[in-house]
Each structure stands twice: as C-alpha cells, then as structure tokens.
C-alpha cells in the first residue's frame, strides 16, 4: 500500500466516501497532492531528525558536568569537614600547653601567700580554739552523782 493510498484510505478520497468530512469536501482537490507531499516531507524530516539524534555520538556532557559539579561539592564538603576536625584538634592541642604553662605560674603565685600566711595564722588559730573550748566547756557532773545524792537523802531520813 502506497503512502497516497494510506491517506486516501483514511480521508475517504477513494475507497471510503462515507468517511469524507465536511471540511475535506470544502477543500480544493489540488490540495490533496500538496497534502500528500507535505505529509511525505513531514515524515522524511521526522525520520532524518530522529536518525540524526539517535546516531549522534553520545557525549556525556550533561552527565560529566553533573558529575563534576557533584565532585566539586564533595570536595568542598570534605575540605570543610577536614578543616573543622583539624581546627578542633588544633584548638584542643593549643589549649593544653597554654593551660600547662599557666598552671605553674598560678601555683607559684599562690604558694608564697600561703607560706606567708601560715606562721601568722597558727597562734591565732590556737588562741581561737582555746577560747572556744573554754566558752563551750562546762563542768559536767559525774554519771553517778545524782544517784549518789538520792542515796544520801534516803540515809538521812
């Protein structure tokens, strides 16, 4: 079946006059040859276009671009991660020597004061403790004294 036959088979030009539409009837007869030509050209153009696109070398430009972009993003993230971790480690290591160097000087600064304070503080403390002892302490009766007193009262009666 030729291409023209296919067109006429559908549009009702030859075999199927009952399917002829009002619009088709209004159209001039010479349009049909132009129609066939236009459809043939359309088909040829689609075939050529498809063939050209289909047989073109598959250059993975978009994929490469995307992959490069992803790679760059991954590298950036890795750099950030490494920078963060190394920064943290560096800061931690930096703090320790500072603290270590600051500790002896603080200890040194605190020691003389303690040394200076201790000889003076000792007699004062002893005096204070003695005073407290004297204030708090009172004469406590012996444990049997009340009972002995009761016995003495009974004997006198």
């Amino acid at each position: 079946m030729s291409f023209k036959d296919k067109i006429s088979g559908v549009s009702g030009l030859g075999e199927e006059p009952e399917s002829k539409t009002e619009l088709e009837a209004k159209l001039e007869p010479e349009l049909e040859s132009e129609m066939v030509q236009a459809l043939t050209e359309f088909r040829s153009s689609v075939h050529a276009w498809s063939e050209s696109v289909y047989s073109r070398p598959r250059v993975a430009v978009a994929a490469t671009g995307r992959r490069l972009w992803l790679l760059a993003a991954e590298c950036a993230l890795c750099c950030l991660l490494v920078a963060g971790v190394s920064g943290g480690v560096y800061q931690r290591h930096h703090r320790q020597p500072v603290a270590q160097s600051a500790q002896p000087s603080l200890a040194k600064a605190a020691q003389p004061e303690a040394v200076v304070r201790s000889p003076q503080a000792r007699p004062e403390d002893e005096d204070l403790l003695a005073k407290v002892d004297s204030d708090v302490s009172q004469q406590v009766p012996s444990a049997m004294q009340p009972l002995a007193q009761l016995m003495a009262d009974d004997d006198s009666r």
Partner: protein, 190 residues
C-alpha cells in the same frame, strides 16, 4: 536430584534464549520507538528517557509477552502508556520542561533531506513541514498519537488500534480529524 539439576539447566537455557530474543527485539525496534516518542514530544532528552523506561518495562515483562501482536506493537503500546502517564502525572512540570527543551517548529523542518531540489523548493518544503508540525502540535493527545503512528511510522490501522487500545473505527475518526486539522493548516497558508 538429577531431575532438579535438569530443570535448573532448562530454566537457565530458557532465560538465556529469552534474553537473546529480547536483545534482538531491542536492537531492531529501539530506533522506531525513539522516533515515535521524539516526534510526539519534540524533546530529545524526554524521548530518550521514555525510550529507556519503555525498554526497561518491556524487559521486566518480556516473559509475559505472548506474541498475540507483533513485538513492535507491544513495545509501542508500552511507550504510549508511559507517555500518557508522564503527561498525567507531571502535566505542569512536563509542559514547562517541554516548553524549555522542545525544538522549535522551524528547527524541526531543518531536518528535511535536501535531495535534488532547488533552493526555492527546499524553502517551500520546509514551510510545509513547519505547517504540518504546527498542526500536529495543536492536535489532541490521541489524535497526535494516531496521526504519527499512521503517517510517520506507517502502521496499519489494525496495528494502530492494537497499540493504542482503541477500536479501528475510533482510530479512523481520530485520523480523519487530524487530517482535517492538517489540511486546514495547509489551506490557511495559501
């Protein structure tokens, strides 16, 4: 034990034969599937994606293909359904993408083989192709599908009916309307 091994070997052989058959079908029909999808969507990337999806789906269901219709008809049916799903699910996004990626009508007519024509004839032919493409763009989804299967893929009405799931009368009606639109477009040009 021996029967089990024999059965496993038979299944492996059957799978291998099926894989080889499918590979041959893909090699033969892939360009045509791609061409239909390209003509229908006018988007190279989308056509390639849908072709891949179609072949993947066909591969998954290859065992269920009983050969009632030709492999091409079966593949086209899958392609048409995938295209429909694509339209239905992502209508807005698809339209935007199509607008962005679609080839201009004038560009589509650039692919016309020059043959042995004069410059004037080539220009006229390009104009005609652009007119037909414009008319096809304005068709409804079904009309466009039927039109392209008939006049680009040169399929018989019966095959079109099988591929689209329509009956032959409906296919004829859609074709008639589509041709009417194309005629009107070509007539309007004059």
């Amino acid at each position: 034990m021996a029967a089990g091994i024999l059965e496993a070997m038979t299944m492996a052989t059957a799978d291998q034969i099926a894989a080889e058959e499918f590979s041959a079908v893909v090699t033969r029909h892939r360009p045509q599937i791609f061409r239909y999808l390209l003509a229908s969507t006018r988007d190279v990337d989308l056509a390639e994606t849908l072709t891949q999806e179609c072949l993947l789906k066909a591969h998954r269901n290859w065992k269920s293909f009983r050969g009632d219709s030709s492999a091409m008809t079966w593949l086209l049916r899958i392609a048409i359904n995938l295209q429909k799903d694509h339209w239905r699910n992502r209508r807005l996004q698809f339209w935007r993408k199509t607008q962005a990626n679609a080839v201009e009508l004038d560009d589509a007519s650039d692919w016309l083989p020059s043959g042995e024509r004069s410059a004037e004839q080539q220009m006229m032919a390009r104009e005609r192709v652009a007119q037909v493409a414009k008319a096809v763009e304005g068709l409804s989804e079904r009309q466009r599908t039927v039109f392209l299967l008939r006049y680009v893929e040169e399929m018989e009405l019966r095959e079109i009916a099988r591929s689209t799931g329509l009956n032959e009368g409906t296919v004829k009606a859609h074709l008639s309307r589509a041709l009417g639109r194309v005629r009107a477009e070509l007539g309007g040009r004059r």
